[in-house]
Symmetry: C2
Subunit: 253 residues, 2 copies
């Protein structure tokens, strides 16, 4: 699929370029002088957010500056710069009604997230195909995936479908049966983040997801509060560097 | 209290010296050229183990080599090179009987661990006092504590009693009421490790300990299997460096 890349801007050692792959908009962050074959981190955004969400951008820049990785984000279907389908609009309206009445979100979020994942997985795979054609990434780049909530509902089926994903950090999702089914086909190292006091995400869902993953190397990391503020520096900040075999680290640690 | 230090041996950049403080035997690991005022890590051993347990020694050497810390371990009462009291012998015999019959360990382990903690906390405080008198450590050294099972039953009351402990990693303990009471007085950053499938340690105990801690900065880290094999490299290996303000790291990361 056609890859379009902007010239981009550079700040603090990070080159940021807009991209589209098959019409899906994204952003690519790279070192100024990339090491050929260095790892690629796919960053998913949460539900209602987009490829430019501040937390996501911070993690992307850190992956470049600290680990010498490239990082890429795309807008999920109906998010960010992308049009929303009529069906997506209906789901979102229904989700708002359910939230207002305090009813459980799962019955709406489950099929909505599944539909988004069904569309997003082939989009991510096309992005990987396209980026592997870039000389600074290449066909052998080791690839990780990180993202919470909606990005977990997309990332787990993606990792189940595409063996190029070598390690992932996920969390903050309800335990939809179709998601658990995908988790049972994931065998690569994984970290599951569990918000400990989230009014909309029960701990048991995090535990069920953790239990379902077939990965031998898996850990669960819980933090006080909700999924809105993830204290990323309190977890294993070397996870992707360990599993994707980073080149010698650059900059601060 | 009187500190005795052996001359010690040096290997791979780590000076290892035997010590006694008030008759309690221990080991001190230090950098060959210590930075004055660099942090000190207290390492507790698990029940039935001792100051020379391989996992403990590996963490001590890593703290020296990677972070430039000093590290110290002592034998808990009735462990390692220390005599066992008649009462300790009775508890251990009872614990074995309970294990053989598959009954819950808590009713025996609770009072046994509490008694060990009551004795060990003043011993640790005397060790801190003594080591603060060494020029390479000093009165201002920032201090952390790490240890599982019995070392958690000791470390949490220690941190509740002694504000010199600035950060701790604990886990793998049952949730004895006296331990939860101490946890409610701990306010420093803490990581709680929870073995996910331990026949003798229920997850709920780990959750109760995590919930009881008054620390604002706390995270829970769970791993498959029992407490016998803790995959330490899967957690936040920068925890003590972040909280004890390590000097610039040395060696591999």
């Amino acid at each position: 699929m056609q890859l379009h890349l902007s010239t981009g801007t550079t700040s603090e050692g990070v080159v940021e370029r807009d991209l589209t792959v098959g019409g899906v908009p994204g952003v690519l962050w790279s070192p100024v002088s990339p090491t050929p074959g260095s790892p690629l981190l796919l960053l998913g955004h949460g539900g209602g957010l987009h490829k430019g969400a501040p937390g996501l951008v911070a993690r992307a820049r850190e992956a470049v500056q600290r680990d010498g990785f490239s990082a890429v984000a795309i807008d999920a279907p109906g998010h960010g710069d992308r049009d929303r389908s009529d069906e997506d609009r209906r789901w979102i309206a229904e989700m708002r009604r359910v939230r207002e009445t305090g009813r459980p979100l799962g019955p709406v979020l489950g099929p909505f997230n599944r539909s988004l994942a069904d569309r997003a997985v082939p989009e991510w795979r096309a992005v990987i195909d396209a980026l592997q054609g870039l000389p600074e990434i290449g066909a052998d780049a080791r690839i990780g995936y990180s993202g919470m909530t909606l990005a977990t509902a997309i990332g787990i089926p993606l990792a189940a479908a595409d063996r190029r994903i070598r390690a992932l950090i996920v969390g903050g999702s309800l335990a939809y049966p179709w998601l658990l089914e995908a988790a049972r086909r994931v065998t690569v190292p994984v970290e599951v983040l569990v918000p400990w006091d989230d009014p909309e995400l029960d701990r048991a869902s995090g535990f069920a997801l953790f239990d379902a993953l077939a990965s031998e190397d898996k850990t669960l990391h819980a933090f006080p509060g909700s999924h809105f503020r993830v204290p990323a520096d309190r977890f294993d900040t070397r996870f992707f560097a360990r599993h994707l075999g980073a080149p010698e680290p650059v900059g601060r640690r």
